[in-house]
Each structure stands twice: as C-alpha cells, then as structure tokens.
C-alpha cells in the first residue's frame, strides 16, 4: 500500500506550482468526501420538498410526497458509507459514537444522523404508511403479508381517530423535520465553514450555501425520479405537480445562485490575504469545474431552460423534455459545487504561495469505481423501497402498489 501511495505522490510533486508546505502534496479528502455532502444534500432537499405538502399545504406536489420521503430515506441510508470507506482506520469508527470529542463538529455526525434517521425520517414514513401497511398486510398472502404486518409493527387500528392521529403525527414530525433537515446539511456545511485555516472553506455563509444547494439538488432529483418512475409505470405525469415543483426548483436555484454570488463578491471585495491564491485557484485549477460545469452548465443554462419552459406555451411533452434536461443539468451542477468546495479547498497551499493537483484514482477504495457504486446504491435501495411501499395512498388509485 505504502510504495504505491508514495509513487503517486512523486507524480503529483512535479505538478506543483509555486511553493507548498511539504506535507501538503497528498490530497486528503478525495472523491468520496465529495460524494458525502452531495448525498446528504439530496436527503435534506428531498425532505424539504416533502414537507411542502404537509406543513405548507402545497397540495399540487402531493404526488411526489411519498417518493420524496423514500428518496430521502434511500440516500440517508447510504450517507455514512463514503465516510466510513474514507477513514484510514474504518474499524475504529465506533469511537466517534462511544467517545466523541464534544468540541468536534465531525463528532456530532453520529447524533445528527441518528436523530434524523430515527426521530424524523423513519417515524414520519411509518406514520404515513401505517394504514397502507395494515391494508397490504391483510391483502397479501403468506410471507409478504407477514412482512407488511411486521413493518406496521403489528398495529391494526384503522379507525378514523387512529388515522387522524397518524395525520397529526406526520405533520408534527415534519415540523420538527424541517429544522432537522437544515441541521443535517447545515452541519455538513459547518464542518467545512468552520475551518479557519482554509480561506476557501472558512465562511459563515457555507452552511447556508450548502442548505440552498441541497434544496436545489433534492428538488431536482425528485423531479427526475418522478418523471422516470411515471414513465416506467406508464402512468400520466401530473403536469400541475411538475409545473409547481419546477417553479420551486427555479426559485431555489435563484436563491442558491445569489448566495454563491454574494460569497464570491464578498471575498473579492474584502480582498484578504488569500485573495490572490484563490484567484489563481479558480482560474488555473477550477476553471472547468467552477465556471463551465457549476455556473454555466449547472446553473445558468438550466435557469434559462426553466424560464423558457415557463414563459412559452409549449406542449406538455416539450415542457417535460425541458424540465427533465434542467433537472439533470442541475444535478451535474450541484455535484460540481461539492467538488469545487471539497477538492478545490485542498488545491492551494495554506502558505498561499502555490497550487497542488488532485489526481483521481479509478480503482482503489477511494477511487472512481467505489464512488460510482456508492452513488448507485441509493437508487437500488429506492427501487426496492418503491416496490414494497406504494408511492400513492392505497385507494386513491387502484393497483398503485406494483
């Protein structure tokens, strides 16, 4: 392991420009740490979309409510994997839970994660699905019925008062869930934003920028999944729902863009000690991923597409095509955002005198293949989840389950 690693480092050594501290040649937080905030962002964003229905009574997006919850769950289940795989000593991960250092933002991961998974997401999904699980448990035969009954925790009460309680519980959990989702992803932003040694990261805006980009990516993902799922099931897309969701997407992108622009202008105007090296960073190392992928392809073009789709009276099919394209481009843009934060923050020396290079591995535990597998895993989990749990309330439409 060691000779292979240092060989790669010698290669990187020759690509350094200017002066860096000698220990800085190795890029420590690699592709998996790009994937991690990307995934938690999707969780938070999907949940906030779901909460639009329950808390803010946006009835139009009801068709995506359950899908958004299940998406959040599928991605949340995978969220710890990139972190775990990235650890130098993954077998010691439990120390972070058993003996956490209370001053460490990272040590809070276990608690934030457990809170969000147990107290928010699973609970909300359970109350939302309880009646359907009981119905399915009665309908389905043999082991499938037993699984549904087990999932409903063997509750049987479908009286009106019980159902009213379910609705109340879902609403209450969602109200707690919104700040929790903000906490989950704002906390990830804080991990980066609180590093005072790194001027690219250390910004009080970081958690907020993370949150807004999370909402953007979450809404875009659910839009994408909703369109794919309905076409797979050969169902009609609810255009009113799609129009509403993409409107929210549009506003979220605008807010996200404004925040990032504010961050950029603020840095430029304050022009602190680090401004020169950060200028060289974005022009020499991040030009493609920041200006082309994140801002142009991931933000301005989809914004233009959304404006076009809203302004003109296109046919539904044309609108769908435009929305679909925008959703995919936005995903690409948000992934680039995460890349530019995580990798970008490690490509300049803390001496502010030189730039490093990151060379992505393909194989290996922190390589491209593992990252792709980690990114694919939530979709597989989601595929199972939507098979087991109906994305429409039973009785609203016949045969919604399969």
């Amino acid at each position: 392991m060691s000779p292979h690693l240092t060989e790669g480092l010698y290669e990187l050594l020759d690509q350094i420009t200017g002066f860096i501290y000698p220990n800085e040649v190795e890029i420590h937080w690699s592709l998996l740490i790009v994937v991690y905030p990307y995934i938690t962002g999707l969780v938070a964003g999907a949940f906030i979309l779901a909460s639009l229905v329950k808390v803010f009574n946006v009835k139009e997006v009801q068709p995506t409510y359950r899908l958004a919850l299940l998406t959040a769950l599928a991605f949340l289940l995978v969220a710890p994997f990139p972190l775990l795989l990235h650890l130098g000593r993954p077998e010691r991960f439990y120390e972070i839970l058993l003996t956490p250092n209370v001053t460490s933002a990272m040590a809070m991961f276990g608690f934030v994660y457990a809170w969000y998974l147990m107290a928010v997401l699973l609970l909300e999904i359970w109350f939302e699905y309880r009646r359907d699980l009981i119905v399915l448990g009665a309908q389905e035969g043999s082991w499938r019925g037993w699984v549904y009954r087990a999932l409903s925790l063997f509750s049987t009460d479908v009286s009106d008062t019980a159902l009213a309680f379910d609705r109340k519980a879902v609403r209450a959990i969602t109200i707690i869930g919104i700040p929790s989702a903000f906490l989950l992803h704002g906390y990830v932003g804080f991990i980066f934003g609180s590093v005072k040694a790194n001027p690219w990261w250390g910004s009080v805006l970081m958690p907020i920028v993370f949150l807004m980009s999370a909402i953007v990516s979450g809404i875009a993902l659910v839009t994408f999944l909703y369109m794919v799922l309905t076409s797979l099931r050969r169902e009609a897309i609810d255009m009113r729902c799609l129009d509403t969701i993409t409107s929210y997407l549009f506003y979220a992108v605008i807010v996200d863009f404004s925040l990032e622009a504010l961050d950029f202008i603020h840095r430029l105007y304050q022009s602190e000690e680090s401004v020169k090296i950060l200028g060289r960073l974005i022009t020499h190392r991040l030009f493609m991923s920041l200006f082309v992928l994140q801002i142009l392809i991931g933000m301005l073009i989809p914004l233009g597409i959304l404006v076009l789709a809203k302004a003109r009276n296109f046919s539904d099919d044309m609108k769908k095509l435009l929305y679909f394209t925008a959703a995919i481009l936005i995903q690409l843009g948000i992934f680039s955002t995460r890349w530019n934060v995580v990798i970008g923050g490690q490509l300049f020396s803390k001496s502010f005198r030189g730039l490093m290079t990151y060379k992505m591995e393909v194989t290996g535990i922190e390589g491209l293949l593992v990252a792709l597998a980690v990114l694919a895993l939530p979709f597989i989990i989601l595929a199972v989840l939507v098979r087991v749990l109906p994305t429409k309330r039973l009785g609203d439409e016949v045969g919604g389950a399969a």
Binding site: M1, S2, L5, T6, L9, Y10, L13, D14, I16, T17, G18, F19, I20, Y21, P22, N23, E24, V25, E26, H28, W29, L83, H86, L87, G88, R89, P90, R92, F93, E95, I96, T99, P100, N101, T103, S104, A105, M106, A107, F109, I191, S194, V195, K196, A197, N198, G345, Q346, S349, K350, S351, F352, R353, G354
Partner: protein, 265 residues
C-alpha cells in the same frame, strides 16, 4: 582558615547545595534538568529527585532565524529519532528557504523536497536583497484547531503544553490535517493515522532535549520551559523581538521566531 580547610569545605559545600536545591525543587533546578541534560540528564534522578509533574512545565521552542544555516541536520535527526518515512511528503520538521529580490519578488522552497517547482524557484542571482532559512514544525498551539476538530479526541494537549496524537485511537479521518494552518500534519501511510511533531515528548519527559534541538550546530533552535524564569526559552523571548506564525488565526503558537521576515507564513 587555611587553604586545606577551605578546600575541605568546598568538597562538602557543593554537593550539599545540590541536595538542598533538589529538596527545595527550585525552578532553577528544574530548568537545568531539561536544558543541561546530556545523556546523563535521564540518569540524574536519584532517590531524592522529585517525580515528574506535568503541571510544573509548559514547553515551547524558540527559533533564531538568523542562526539557521539550512544544514537540515534537524530534519535528518527528527526522521531518525521518530521513525518518519524518508519520502519527501512526510515531515515532522522541515526547512524553508526564502529568497527576496530587490524588486520585491519572493521565492520560497522547501529545501528538503526536490521538486520541479523548487528547482525552478531558486536562481542564483545578483539582485537578491536577502535570503534566509526558516525551520518549521508543529507550533504546539495553546489554542490548537487540530485538537478542537478531532472527532474522537485522539489528538490532545498535554498539561505540559505539548500537542500529541494517540495513534491507537486515531481513526484517520484527517480533519486535523485540514484544520492545521501550518501544514504540520500528515497521514502516515503505514498506520493510516495522523502524525506530526511531538516535541520529542519521549525525550523531554526524561529530561532530554528534542532531537532537532540536540543536533542543531548553530543553536538556532532553543527548547525550554515557559514556567521557569531561568529557562533559556524565557531568556530568548526576553532578549529578542519575537513573532509567531499566522497570529491572526488566534492559535497561540508556542514556537517563537526571532528575526522573522513578514514574508514568512
């Protein structure tokens, strides 16, 4: 008193003084223990010697930039003493060379790393205004960001003012490496845990000097106890105008530089 009596008296006077000062535990005695410690320093603890109490000490280092000749003996000694990998990506201490030209251009290289960039960096030139070496190491900050961020408490500050890493506890998340403003930390690829300068804590606890200080031929590095008024370090701080690296970050480093140029970061 004749000459014979006087000499007899001397024979008793000096050892008696030694015993008394050991019993009194005077700060001066503590300082001599660390500072004058040759190899005998470790053995000096007789039955009457006071056991080591971390609360009585608070270590730091002084670096006199004008004295450093860039011989890198400190780097070599550190790597040998602490079993640091020889590859030029893992340093507990290293030396930077600054060249400031007359028109103001500054070039810096790490003289222990031979990269293309560093070869290009330094040209022998007549218009050099000044040039100097800066030894770097962990600053053993009094307010260390690495300790703050470690999720499992594997890196910690000792009572005697040293920042250490428990490699049996470190999970290799590398948050500390990101949080250190001085690039003092690296991940040891053998253990997959974070590593950095320990002020040679294993030596200091025995009354020895850190390896880099021990071998420095020009005494550019001065190690000492800030709790002791008689410490060489305290004297160093009194006699020189001193500065620390990146003071604006409020890390409160305990590596003090004398004659430091504003270009040093």
């Amino acid at each position: 008193m004749n000459k014979r009596d006087f000499l007899k008296g001397l024979i008793f006077f000096f050892p008696a003084g030694g015993v008394l000062s050991a019993l009194a535990g005077a700060p001066a005695a503590k300082e001599t223990e660390v500072q004058d410690a040759g190899p005998k320093g470790a053995d000096a603890k007789g039955p009457g010697a006071k056991p080591y109490n971390s609360r009585d000490h608070y270590y730091g280092m002084g670096i006199e930039i004008g004295k450093c000749i860039g011989c890198s003996r400190c780097v070599e000694a550190c790597k040998a003493e602490n079993d640091v990998l020889r590859d030029p990506f893992f340093f507990r201490t290293w030396i930077e060379r600054y060249v400031i030209k007359k028109e103001g251009e500054v070039t810096v290289e790490s003289i222990n790393v031979k990269s293309r960039a560093s070869k290009e960096a330094v040209q022998e030139d007549a218009d050099v205004l000044r040039t100097f070496f800066v030894p770097k190491l962990c600053n053993h900050c009094a307010h260390p960001p690495c300790v703050q961020v470690c999720p499992v408490g594997a890196t910690f500050s000792t009572e005697d003012g040293v920042v250490l890493i428990d490699s049996n506890r470190c999970i290799g998340c590398r948050y500390c490496i990101q949080a250190c403003p001085y690039g003092a930390r690296y991940l040891d690829p053998r253990t997959k845990t974070a590593d950095k300068c320990s002020f040679c804590y294993h030596r200091v606890r025995k009354g020895l000097l850190p390896a880099c200080v021990e071998v420095c031929p020009t005494q550019a590095r001065i190690f000492g106890d800030l709790r002791s008024k008689a410490s060489r370090l305290v004297r160093f701080a009194r006699m020189n105008k001193i500065h620390v690296l990146k003071p604006a970050l409020n890390t409160e480093p305990k590596v003090y530089y004398a004659q430091m140029d504003g270009e040093v970061r």
